[in-house]
Each structure stands twice: as structure tokens, then as C-alpha cells.
Symmetry: C2
Subunit: 183 residues, 2 copies
């Protein structure tokens, strides 16, 4: 998902400034899809305006620089919805944790224990964030994906809780120089 699409996606939920879009993409609901930095958002917004996909209005403020509030246009909405209809890229899961786990026997139990704990805490943190969001608007797809996310997180957490020790044992076994402890 490009920054361009990300901006359009966020703007379908209401007007926003570049600053707010970035926040939403790194901390808010859209952090499940992509992160983006100012260095990519501001140029993307400028191009979107030149293309007629968004409009801007400036709101003067005392002291602070003027806010540039962007609104999506009909053409912008069309572009975005159309992009959702064309063949979707496959979902991907990138897991530094799994990579570490793969080399458990080379890394030893301490590293593995730490990696496992970190992963669990990450899941807990994400779970907390998801459960905070409230949904009072009619776009209930938003609620559905939230519930989906929560369910998945809970299931993986349970799996980790149940099978984490097995992984630690793999790391331990190799630590003792006995290549394989029969299974």
C-alpha cells in the first residue's frame, strides 16, 4: 500500500492534516496497514492536490504555522475504491521473532526466552490498543476487522503461552552440545 493510497484511505474517514495522517498511520487504526513518515506524506498530499484528488484549506493559527486541512474529492474517493477492487496483493506476515526462533539451537535459551517475552508483550500492547477503539459510525467493516484482529492476537498469544517452553527446550538441548534430544 503506497503512501498515496494511505492518505486517501484516511481521508475517506474525514478531513485531516498531514500531521494527523501521519499519527493515524503510526499509532491509530491504520497502523495495521502501513507506517509513513512526513517525508513521504507531505509530497504525496501535494501531488494528490495537483491531481484533483483532494482539496486544501488553510486554517490560520496563533503562533503555530497554519494547518493545511485536506478533504478528499469525489475523484479521490473513486480512485481509492477502484484500487481496492483490483486484484489484491497477498497478505504478508513479517516476523523477526520467527527468524530468531528458527535459529534457537544456535542462540541458546536466554536469547530465546527474551525474544519470546518481547513478542508476548508486543501482542499484549497491540491487543490493548485495539480494545481501546470505539465504533459508533455506520462503517461497521471497521468493527469487524477490529474483532478479527483481537481474535487473531489472542489465539497467537495462547499458542505462544502453550508452546513457548518447547522452543526454550530446543535452545537448551543444543546448548548442552547434544545435537538432538530425541522427540
Amino acid at each position: 500500500m503506497s503512501v498515496r493510497s494511505l492518505c486517501l484511505a484516511i481521508l475517506t474517514f474525514g478531513d485531516a492534516t498531514g500531521y494527523e495522517i501521519r499519527k493515524e498511520s503510526t499509532e491509530g487504526r491504520f497502523s495495521y496497514f502501513d507506517d509513513a513518515s512526513y517525508g513521504s506524506i507531505y509530497p504525496a498530499l501535494a501531488r494528490l492536490e495537483a491531481d484533483g484528488k483532494v482539496t486544501v484549506r488553510e486554517e490560520q493559527q496563533h503562533g503555530k504555522p497554519a494547518r493545511k486541512v485536506y478533504s478528499i474529492t469525489e475523484a479521490g474517493r473513486d480512485e481509492f475504491l477502484a484500487s481496492l477492487c483490483e486484484p489484491q496483493a497477498p497478505d504478508t506476515f513479517k516476523s523477526p521473532f520467527l527468524l530468531i526462533a528458527m535459529y534457537a539451537s544456535d542462540l541458546g535459551p536466554d536469547v530465546i526466552r527474551r525474544a519470546l517475552d518481547r513478542r508476548k508483550q508486543q501482542i499484549l500492547a497491540e491487543l490493548g490498543k485495539m480494545q481501546e477503539f470505539g465504533y459508533d459510525d455506520p462503517r461497521t467493516g471497521e468493527r469487524w476487522i477490529n474483532e478479527y484482529g483481537i481474535a487473531c492476537m489472542k489465539l497467537t498469544l495462547a499458542y505462544l503461552e502453550e508452546h513457548g517452553d518447547d522452543l526454550i527446550n530446543i535452545a537448551k538441548g543444543a546448548d548442552k552440545a547434544a545435537p538432538v534430544a530425541a522427540e
Copy 2:
């Protein structure tokens, strides 16, 4: 995970050519971590050799260009294992499917049904690939992550099977209530 690390990771499992590394990263066990193209693998391998992290030997072949078979060195193994020990980046899940689901009420039931089916098929395909891999070497961390992956895929598939209709209903409901944007 950079292409450099990816190359080292794959080479810890045995010697390989650039061609094979690419295949492993797009189709094999390592496809869960990262993809990489020739345009990034070959330069990475050249740098790795210049840095003394791998060695090369050329194997002449009849007709085909000579294979350049790379082997990881002790220094290479050290660099890789050390990189696994330093603070891990959080796991991320990028889901074009979830994005489509989020806008269910704007897209209508047909698009959603299609997206749902595609996602299920993707999971099925990945599941099949995972179940094919056999593990006879002592590095049992590999088996652990395989079982983890299979468990997660099965759980999410079950969730989609159970709650997919809810999402279609959301898309349907909106279809009746408010007309969809131009299509």
C-alpha cells in the same frame, strides 16, 4: 530484514548460488520473512564476499553459465547470529484483505465475497506449502516455527470460515441502505 541478512540466513543452512537464494526467498522456507530479487541479491553477495563474510567457488557447466556457489564463513556466521541478538523489530502483518474489509459497506457484497475467497485460498496454499516441508536435521527450531505457522494459518482460516458471512452481511446491508459510489 535486509537482503544481506537474508543471504547469510540462507547460507547457514548450506552452500547456495544467487539463483537458489532467490528461489528460497520467494518460494521456500524463507518466504515467510522476506522476498528478494536478483537485482538486490547479486550485489549483496558481491559485497558479502568483499567483506569476507562468504567465499565463492565457480563450478563450470556445459552450456549454462558457470554457477557461483557461495559458502558462509565463520565471520559471516558471527555477524548473522549477532544481528539476531540485538533488539528485534516488532512483527508486522500487512493485510490488503483487511483494508478491503474495512470498507465493506462502500464496496458491496460481491467485492467482499471475492476478497474473502481469495484470502482463504491464499491461506490454503500457504498451509499446503508448509505441510510439505520435511525436517530431518537437528535444527529443530525450524520445525517449531513450521508448526507455529500451520497452527496460526488454521486458526485464522477457521475464523474466516465462521465470521466471513458477517462481513458479507455488512456489505449487503449498506448496499440496501445507501447506494454505493459510482461503479
